[in-house]
């Protein structure tokens, strides 16, 4: 039962924050400063998430095969490779480095 309580509380909380963002009145977002901020927040969040998914293992920072994979993706992006190729490059290079014992 306690597990259901936890599930319920998490579901409600997570849904509420998702909805809160969408329901902020458009008028409040008209101001240029708010607008700039709302545009920059996803940039910050995505950048931090990308870095964490690459270099984090729980609460510790690690440098492993994923870093090589992400570097390959970055190179592919610079070369203007299509989206799927960018992701494939990351996966293949990561697997390759691991296979080599990285």
């Amino acid at each position: 039962m306690t597990i259901w309580i936890a599930i319920g509380a998490t579901a409600l909380g997570c849904y509420a924050v998702k909805l809160a963002g969408l329901l902020v009145p458009a008028g409040a977002l008209e101001r240029p400063l708010v607008r700039r901020l709302a545009a920059l927040l996803p940039v910050a969040l995505l950048a931090a998430l990308t870095a964490q998914q690459t270099f984090a293992d729980g609460h510790t920072l690690v440098l492993d095969a994923r870093a090589a994979g992400l570097a390959a993706a970055a190179v592919a992006l610079v070369l203007r490779a299509p989206f799927l190729l960018v992701v494939a490059a990351a996966v293949v290079v990561t697997a390759g480095v691991r296979a080599l014992g990285g």
């Binding site: 309580i5 936890a6 997570c14 924050v17 969040l45 931090a48 990308t50 964490q52 998914q53 299509p82």
Partner: protein
Amino acid sequence: MTSAGSGLTVWQTCALSLLVFTGASQFALVGALAAGGNPLTAAAGAFFLGVRNAFYGLRLSQLLALPRAVRPFAAQWVIDETAAVSLAQSGRRSARIGFAVTGLSLYVLWNLTTLLGALGAEAIGDTDAWGLDAAGPAVFLALLAPMLRTATERTVAGLAVLLGLGLLPVLPAGVPVLAAALAAPVVLYAEGRRSGGRTDGTEPGDEDAPSDGRGGQR
């Protein structure tokens, strides 16, 4: 998959996935419950991980301009992936399509894999060996790249990476990403200062004036 191994029933696992639908929060909740945590503490940790979705919602509501009646339904799909895809589109129409397609396909796939995983199909083996764990960050990087058009965006991204990684060892899960979001106001503030107290330090005519569309030069 993780949750089935930590004492949740198949029903609980699927309900969690269907109702919460924001991956990091689900894993956090399951992890905390498995570690024997109090259910409300566990829920609080999971909630923290979900708070960033509110920031996505802020931007998405401008971008998608959804009718009020649709918003409660769209809200459940406001997550990292849908935000990233929508923001990478160059017009309102394609942003809406991107949001809907990403939301629907992820919702279906995510819940299907949860069900399969909960039913005990752990036979897939070690997905890490195939390098699949690098796909997530690569997708985010590919979606982020077109947004990094000016020095401002690049500075924000750089500072966010430093904050996100630097605080990771010392703060509870989910909080470092929120702290990294501070990079946005900090950089905006610093920019305002540098432009010499010009009160209009945030020119409305700046590159995001037509509120539909970021990047997407492909």
